[in-house]
Each structure stands twice: as structure tokens, then as C-alpha cells.
Point group: C2
Chain length 334, copies 2
């Protein structure tokens, strides 16, 4: 955002005026869930009318290799709570005869994904936009270093949906991850308890054109018949957002690529991301406009962590790229 | 224990002497795992030499219906710890490509028991002493009230190993229960984390003649090939004890039944229990002697809970039964 403001100041100082109209939205609530942003966009859709939106909340592909992010995943997040007996029981006296909610929970969660990494909800993949040959080729050309990736994470192997590469899994395929498990005794040592309750938090990362509301409905129908006798189920739906893909063959994408090349001295690569920026689909839905995701960050910026940083050289390159962007966009014939 | 001491005092006051030799072991460490009891029995097996052992640490079958417990379950307790990446990861950026230890955990735990409630460890049932027709008939005669049992526990159905009744499952069939689950985010609301670690505590209740060491070995071999790539497994074995069954057709059992009838005014029923009293197998192994499990408690005594109680009338009936027991045992010809 600041690179865009700086670049606009530069234009005004140098040329007296900008080559196009700029409107800023400064969102101060993103880290607490953007509770008011959708309403704001809804109420101001005439004031916000525009040809293209630019958000800088993504990263470069690698040091020295700028990127345009053209796809983001959506999300559907749930908590599954199972309740058995009215209180924790002695596992010797009652075990094996009273349904154990923890045993039930692991069985129900296991049913969600098969051993080939495929989500088992009926129709889950029906709306998934397939990875195009062009995308596949582009990803291959990125020469993603899987060994270095494993080294950084401290793992000796990677798994995921069968038939897809690591980058395809991370950027373009829907996933299901357990985010938390809670049941029974969690202290040190042993306690022979048959827990009264067991719960899990888990989420699906979605890709275009999957609908998070559909996923929630299908999930409920999938889990209900799997609740064993003696157990009560509660399924809480936390938040949902669809995934987005911005068309690669648009004059705005070309304009952004030229601007970045001018600013960073290197042509950007086109990447997708596994994270979600829900406002991108809000803009698309309410304003009918696509978003350019042009980010200047690096993977080791420690985002949201101690020692968060932003490289000053990238800051200056970003300002330069942004200044070029306004000119490139202004040349597009509508 | 106190009923036995009181009854011995009564004998000495009334008859001048006991009709047999009594040796007491007073164990003050039972609630903290009896760390020294086995060593004590081992070091003193000559001083402890005897014909029969009496332990009063069990309950009557129902109010007004005394019982002799002739079987206890054993136990084998474990903690399974899975480790994936070296720290928690963003589930959007890494989900679906990095093996999630929580996903792996639920799959490995689910493999332990099938949908018919049968433990899947190879050979798990090979050594299980089958329920005899006599036992089955005796259990049926107890008229166990399943509806009342469910009402007390607050559940609307019971499940367990297919082909067995609730009493058979609780008393005479081995089981596998998850005692605790821990992974990732456990607070309120949602957090999109791919957890670095996931762990479970779980235990098998064993019946004669299953060997807890065998179970531990089989479990390790069962789980190892099920650890997915990218995950490290640690299996901790906490404690193990074999189950016991005391022969029903012994003169000591007959003596105890007569003594209880004299003390409580009603013939005892013969029951088993799902809990474990490991010292019973220690005595059998080190002293070569069986144990009579004669308990005067009630199911609603709130053992180990607030408002723990012991019925005074049962205390007095217990003293009377105990006084008769010494006489009945003294009459047994060796």
C-alpha cells in the first residue's frame, strides 16, 4: 500500500498529475477478521466503482524473483463436537460397553480423507477448476526446490493428494487438514478415563469454483450417518470464503507484468497461493472487478512472527514498479 | 480391611483365639501406583506364605445383593506421539503438501478397532479365555438392567464388541479405549494451523490369558508400518498388568459364599469386573496363591469422588461375614 502512495506522490511531483484515477481503501481490521469490510464495500459500491483493483499482500517467489499471484484458495472451517456419557467414566468399568466419543471422533475424521489424500465428501471435486496445461508447464518451469522446502520445514518426506506435485497441491488443489484435537486426559502419565467429550477443529482449503456453503451442507450430511449410537454430534461452521483465480490473459495482467519488470529488473513469474484473502471474492462479487495481487514480500519475512521484516531494496523496487503500473494501466484501451 | 480386623478382635474377645492364622498386609501406596508392593512381596515371600488371600476392594452387585468378584481385567496403557514439521505451519500455505500429524494420528488410531468393535492387532484374541456356558448363564440370571445403566450414564444407546452382551463386554472381553487426544489449536474459535505434533493416550483392558508384554510388542509392530512419510513416531508404554480369574470350583470360594450368606442374609452372586487390581496377579505369581475378592461397597459410593461414602449397615454385615469366613476357612481339609 505504501509503495502505491509513494509512487502516486512521485507522479504528482514529477508530472503534475496522475495518468489515471486512484482510489484507496485502507483496511485496519484485516487481522481481526475484517468484520466491517464487506458491509463497507456493499454500501459504497458506487464510490468504489473502478476498472481494476490492486492489493499488495503477497510475496515474491524467491529472492530476486518477483511474482504475480493469480490464484488464492478459499476456506471452510469447522469444529466437530461429540458428546457421550454425561461425565468422564472409569475406562475399566465402562470401557468397551459405553461408546467412547474419542474413538468415534477419530473414525469420523479418518473417513474425510482416504489413504490417497482424496477428500471423500460426495461431489467435493465436481466444481474444482482443473489445472490447465499452461499452468502445469509454468509451475514446472519455476524449478521449485523440494529438498530445500523439506529442509526448511524439518521433514524428511512430503505427502498429499496422489497424482499431483507439491506446488500443485499447495496452490491449486483443495485440501483437508485437522487444525486441533481435544479429548480426555492431556496431562503427564496415564489416566484410565473414558472421556465424556471429544472435539476437533478442521478445515478445507478450497479452490475455484468450489462453494464453501455447499461444502458445509455436504459435510453435515456426510457426518450425520457416521455418528455411532450413544453419541451426540454438534457441527459448528466458522467461516467460509471461496477461492479465486484471476484470468492470466487480461491486459491488466500484461500491464502488471511490464511494470514489475521495470521496477525489479526481472520479469515476474505467475504463482498461486494456498492462503485466503476473502475480500478478493467480495470485490469480484459486489463490484464485478478483478484484483491484481502484486506483493513485494519474501518468504523469510517472518510475517506475523517475531523479527518481522521488509527488505528496503524491495520497498524501493516496489515504488518503481507501482509508478510504472499506473502508466501501463492508463494506456489500456477500454 | 477394617471389617477383617474388627472380626478378628471379636473372635479373640469371644473365643480367646482365632480359628486360623491371619497375616495382614496394609498397603498405603495403592492410589499412587503401589511402587514398592511387588518388591515387598518378593522379599518377604516366606513370611507371607499362606493358603488363601482376601482383598476387600470391590463392590456388591446391587443394594441388598452381595457379590464375590472372581475376575478382574488387566491393562496395557500407551501414549502415541507423532511429530511432523519442526513447528506449527500455516494450513493454507502448507496444508495438503506437508503430512499433518493430526490427520496421521486419527488414521492410525482408527485402524486399532474395526466397526464391529473388534481390536485389529494380529493374534489379539488368540489367548483370550472364552466365556464358559456356566458363566454366560450366571450373567443372564443377574438380570442386569441395561435401561437403568444407560439412564445413570446419560446415554441413549450402548455399543461394543459385536456378539456380546453389555455385561460380557464389561467383565470378560478385552477392549481398546482412547483416554486422551491432544493436537494443535484447542482454544475458542478458529485457527488455521497445521500442527507440528499430535498425541493420544489409549489403553487395552485385557482378560485372562492375554499378556500385556505381548500386546505392547504387537502394537509397536502394528503401528510402525502405518506411520506415513514425513512423520516420526514415538510409542510410550506406561503400565501393564494381566487379567485374573479365580477358580469358582474351589473350597475357598464355597467358604466365602457361606460366610457372606451368614453376614448379609443373602447368597452372593458371582461377578467379574472391568477394573484392574494388579497385586492379585503378583500374589498368584510370587506366592502361588489365589485371592478372594470380597467387597462390601455399593456402586453409588462415589469412590475417589466428592461425597465418598460407605454404608454403616454394610460395615456391620461385612464384619459378621468376615467372622464367619475365618471359621469356614478353618474347616477346610488340606
Amino acid at each position: 500500500m505504501f509503495t502505491h502512495i509513494k509512487s502516486a506522490e512521485g507522479w504528482i511531483k514529477t508530472a503534475g498529475r496522475l495518468p489515471l484515477n486512484l482510489k484507496y481503501i485502507i483496511e485496519g481490521e484485516e487481522e481481526v477478521g475484517s468484520a466491517n469490510l464487506d458491509t463497507f464495500v456493499d454500501r459504497n459500491h458506487e464510490r468504489l466503482a473502478c476498472d481494476i483493483i490492486v492489493i499488495s499482500d503477497t510475496s515474491q517467489f524467491a529472492p530476486g524473483q518477483p511474482a504475480i499471484t493469480y490464484g488464492l484458495k478459499g476456506i471452510a472451517y469447522f469444529e466437530l463436537r461429540l458428546t457421550g456419557p454425561s461425565q468422564d467414566l472409569h475406562s475399566g468399568v465402562f470401557g468397551g460397553a459405553v461408546t467412547n466419543p474419542a474413538n468415534a471422533l477419530v473414525r469420523m475424521l479418518t473417513a474425510l480423507v482416504n489413504e490417497r489424500g482424496q477428500v471423500q465428501l460426495p461431489g467435493f471435486y465436481d466444481d474444482v477448476l482443473p489445472i490447465t496445461d499452461t499452468e502445469r508447464a509454468a509451475m514446472r518451469k519455476l524449478n521449485f526446490d523440494e529438498k530445500e522446502f523439506m529442509r526448511q520445514l524439518g521433514v524428511d518426506a512430503l505427502t498429499g493428494e496422489e497424482g499431483f506435485t507439491t506446488l500443485e497441491r499447495r496452490w491449486a488443489r483443495p485440501t483437508c487438514d485437522i487444525n486441533g484435537l481435544t479429548s480426555g486426559y492431556q496431562g503427564e502419565g496415564a489416566k484410565t478415563v473414558l472421556p465424556a467429550r471429544a472435539s476437533a477443529k478442521f478445515s478445507f482449503r478450497l479452490v475455484p469454483n468450489q462453494d464453501p456453503h455447499n461444502v458445509a451442507k455436504t459435510l453435515q450430511a456426510f457426518l450425520e450417518p457416521r455418528v455411532p449410537p450413544g453419541i451426540k454430534m454438534e457441527l459448528i461452521s466458522f467461516h467460509g470464503a471461496p477461492g479465486v483465480v484471476v484470468p492470466l490473459d487480461s491486459p491488466y495482467m500484461d500491464a502488471a507484468a511490464r511494470a514489475i519488470e521495470a521496477g525489479f529488473g526481472r520479469r515476474p513469474v505467475f504463482i498461486r497461493e494456498g492462503g485466503s484473502i476473502p475480500v478478493v471474492s467480495t470485490f469480484h462479487e459486489k463490484l464485478g472487478v478483478d484484483t491484481l495481487l502484486l506483493g513485494w514480500g519474501q518468504n523469510d519475512d517472518n510475517t506475523h512472527s517475531p523479527n518481522e521484516k521488509f527488505c528496503l531494496a524491495d520497498f524501493h523496487r516496489g515504488i518503481k514498479a507501482s509508478a510504472h503500473l499506473w502508466q501501463e494501466i492508463s494506456k489500456i484501451k477500454k
